[in-house]
Subunit: 252 residues, 2 copies
């Protein structure tokens, strides 16, 4: 009984905090605040939104949790640099069947990324190409030094996406490459060498503005990954002790 009463207070508070978070968020959009801007003080916000300072604090916490705001040590609360963007925005980590998720993602990558590579070749400027070359080298250095190259691999694919000058495409790549880490973890030297060769071919095609070659290179790169993935999944489902609910750990 005591618990229930306590909880209803929590709910009331949280919906007020939620409304306050929405109002602060509206303020950010309307006043065109960017990561250069410090959020008005708790006191000012409380006055402006006509709520208590405690409610403002709760609303701010919600927006920090959602990466709309960030607390900078010793400086105060600022607008985040990519407000509202969070890691794993579609909650893939909570999907029960991680292998099916990986296959479904690679299906999307196989359709989306060759098109992205073509646009990249058609639209890249000198600055884009210089960043792309750097990203390509970083993956190579990681692979040759036998370091984990999953992050630099995603950054290479994002750099290609940035060549398109479409605002959204580079945001989608980290979402659909969620599964890269899974396969990089397998660290087969064969896949590593294929990656080096495929990435170089992509870089060359994009640098020379050859859209059709870039599209084909990316299609081949992702198809190779897909086939390898399917092989692994077949092996796993043949092996005893595999459960209905598969998880990346089972792969490693």
């Amino acid at each position: 009984m005591k618990d229930a009463a306590f909880e209803s207070i929590q709910i009331r508070d949280s919906s007020l905090a939620e409304r306050t978070a929405e109002q602060i968020s509206k303020l950010i959009v309307e006043q065109h605040l960017t990561c250069e801007d410090r959020l008005p003080s708790e006191f000012e916000l409380a006055e402006l939104l006509n709520v208590g300072r405690g409610t403002v604090r709760e609303g701010v916490k919600l927006l920090v949790a959602r990466n709309v705001l960030e607390i900078r040590r010793g400086k105060g609360t600022y607008i985040a640099s990519n407000p509202g963007e969070i890691p794993d925005p579609l909650g893939f980590a909570y999907y029960p069947d991680q292998l099916r998720l990986a296959m479904d993602l690679v299906e999307i990558r196989g359709h989306l990324e060759p098109w992205v590579a073509r646009m990249a070749a058609e639209r890249a400027n000198e600055e884009d190409l210089s960043i792309l070359r750097q990203a390509c080298s970083t993956v190579e250095q990681d692979i040759l030094a036998e370091r984990d190259h999953s992050n630099s691999d995603v950054r290479f694919h994002v750099s290609i996406a940035k060549c398109t000058h479409n605002l959204v495409v580079p945001k989608l790549i980290p979402v659909i490459t969620y599964a890269i880490t899974l396969f990089v973890s397998l660290t087969e030297s064969r896949l590593k060498m294929e990656t080096l060769v495929d990435h170089r071919e992509l870089l060359d095609a994009i640098s020379t503005g050859d859209g059709s070659r870039a599209e084909k290179a990316m299609a081949r790169h992702i198809e190779y990954n897909r086939v390898l993935m399917q092989e692994l999944i077949r092996k796993m489902s043949d092996s005893p002790g595999s459960t209905e609910r598969s998880s990346p750990e089972h792969l490693l």
Copy 2:
């Protein structure tokens, strides 16, 4: 000085809360908890994670803010039904140039959705089709009753995506159709009638399993939207008083 001290406490608290949130999130994944499951009590979690109940409460709040957990009135804290999925996951609301965003989204839709329509036609089962027919009727009813049909329109496109049986495609549609509301708000009867005709054609093509017809119908549907959008943007940039930072309000 007092403010600075207060803030450093907040930061310490928030990183501890963040680590606790990560541990709770790991627990959900490892124990395969779903929306059927109640989260262990504050007391149990505090014992298990070896932190104070206040820290557990802060960690839970973070996960509620990110839609991993939800508080059900009078029932307690549960795993959310789509854990980790949040509205506007890429933070589009904070993009300074909403018109450029809309054009970049329609570029992606023009590549992705015709492919989705083809897969839908090739893979839909009877249950999928029955849901799709219902979704199509709802849009029609909204349009004929002159109600706002932006939500039902997105649901129709999501229903098509569900026919593919790819887990991720239906999650991407609400992201890339972010701009639909913008254009539905224009309420040109011409666009409404086009929508009715295009949706019916899509439904027919998918129902009869004709992938190529579905792909073409979707391509035409989105291209029509794109051209209309471009016209509007041209009109707006010609009109006086348009600012560098465009926002949806300017369209209405």
